[in-house]
Amino acid sequence: MQIQFNQQPYQLVSPTTLATFLASQQQLRAGIAVAINQQVIPRSRWDIQPLKDGDTIQLFMAIAGG
């Protein structure tokens, strides 16, 4: 199964959740948000959100500068 994460292709060998994938990329940290296929995924669903073939994942950081 192939996904895109921040515009890079990734091959996943087994079914995984968003939280597990982010942890494997050392990206599970505070002050970030994640969208799959342009839909922001609520934080409380990261543990149960499955990744599917062709998903495009975008991670972005909270910014406060004004």
Partner: protein, 257 residues
């Protein structure tokens, strides 16, 4: 409602030439009251366009003073004003730009109780702040008082823009960044003036469209802009069932029915 005066017809003639903008809508703009929180790189540009367009009453809130390192991007201030309160300098400059409007300056960092007291008389809030706690307080107050919020942010090469009417169930700022405590500001990430200006211009455009009630308003859609690579994306926000602010507000809404 009073007609526009000949002086107003002349001042606003360029925007009145747009087929979407009638004199009645310009009068609506002149009756509007908008709170701009934060008068840095975003707020100064937003305030200038809103004052110029004839938004009738601007409330400007910031507790900060002008520093020389603000001047490359905070275009309302001059070198001679370093050390003075930003709200005072901004008010003088904007009042000179457009004597036709009312400007109120609030030289303090607005707390949640301050915001809750101000919002019932405000049509729109523009979040132009540089810190997390203000952003979360503004989100909560706008939610509770059901005042539309247009939030802008810029840091480094990243810019974000989000218009919200969170009581309509589209999610709120707290849903987007639930564990947000502190984030890079312009002070520690660096910024180029036009980067913050690009977000501010879109924020001002969105504000005027909302007040004029024209065009499409992307409530609940986060616009992300990468200024280094010239890329932008739009992401649809969703309400988080675990969001404490949404839970609080839906509980209050239910108890008011």
């Amino acid at each position: 409602m009073l007609d526009l005066t000949p002086a107003q017809q002349l001042r606003y003639s360029a925007q009145l030439l747009l087929p979407e903008v009638t004199e009645a809508q310009q009068r609506q703009l002149l009756k509007a009251k908008v709170l701009i929180v934060g008068l840095g790189g975003l707020g100064t540009v937003v305030a200038s366009y809103l004052a110029g367009a004839g938004v009738g009453h601007l409330l400007l809130a910031d507790d900060d003073r002008v520093s020389v390192s603000n001047l490359p991007r905070q275009l309302l201030y001059s070198s001679a004003e370093v050390g003075q309160l930003k709200v005072d300098c901004a008010k003088a400059r904007l009042q000179a730009q457009n004597p036709d409007i009312v400007i109120t300056s609030l030289a303090r960092r607005l707390s949640l109780p301050d915001l809750l007291a101000l919002l019932p008389e405000v049509n729109l809030v523009l979040d132009c702040t540089d810190n997390t706690s203000s952003r979360l307080a503004i989100n909560q107050a706008c939610y509770l008082r059901q005042v539309p919020l247009i939030s802008g942010a810029a840091s480094g090469w990243q810019g974000q823009l989000l218009a919200l009417k969170p009581w309509q169930g589209q999610g709120c700022y707290q849903c987007l960044y639930p564990d947000w405590q502190d984030s890079p500001s312009c002070l520690n990430s660096g910024i180029l003036g036009p980067m913050v200006g690009a977000i501010a211009c879109q924020q001002a455009l969105m504000a005027l469209k909302l007040l004029l009630q024209i065009g499409d308003m992307p409530f609940g859609r986060l616009h992300c802009f990468d200024g280094l690579h010239g890329q932008s994306s739009q992401l649809q926000l969703q309400q988080d069932p675990a969001c404490p602010v949404c839970t609080l507000n839906s509980g209050l809404a239910a108890s008011n029915q």
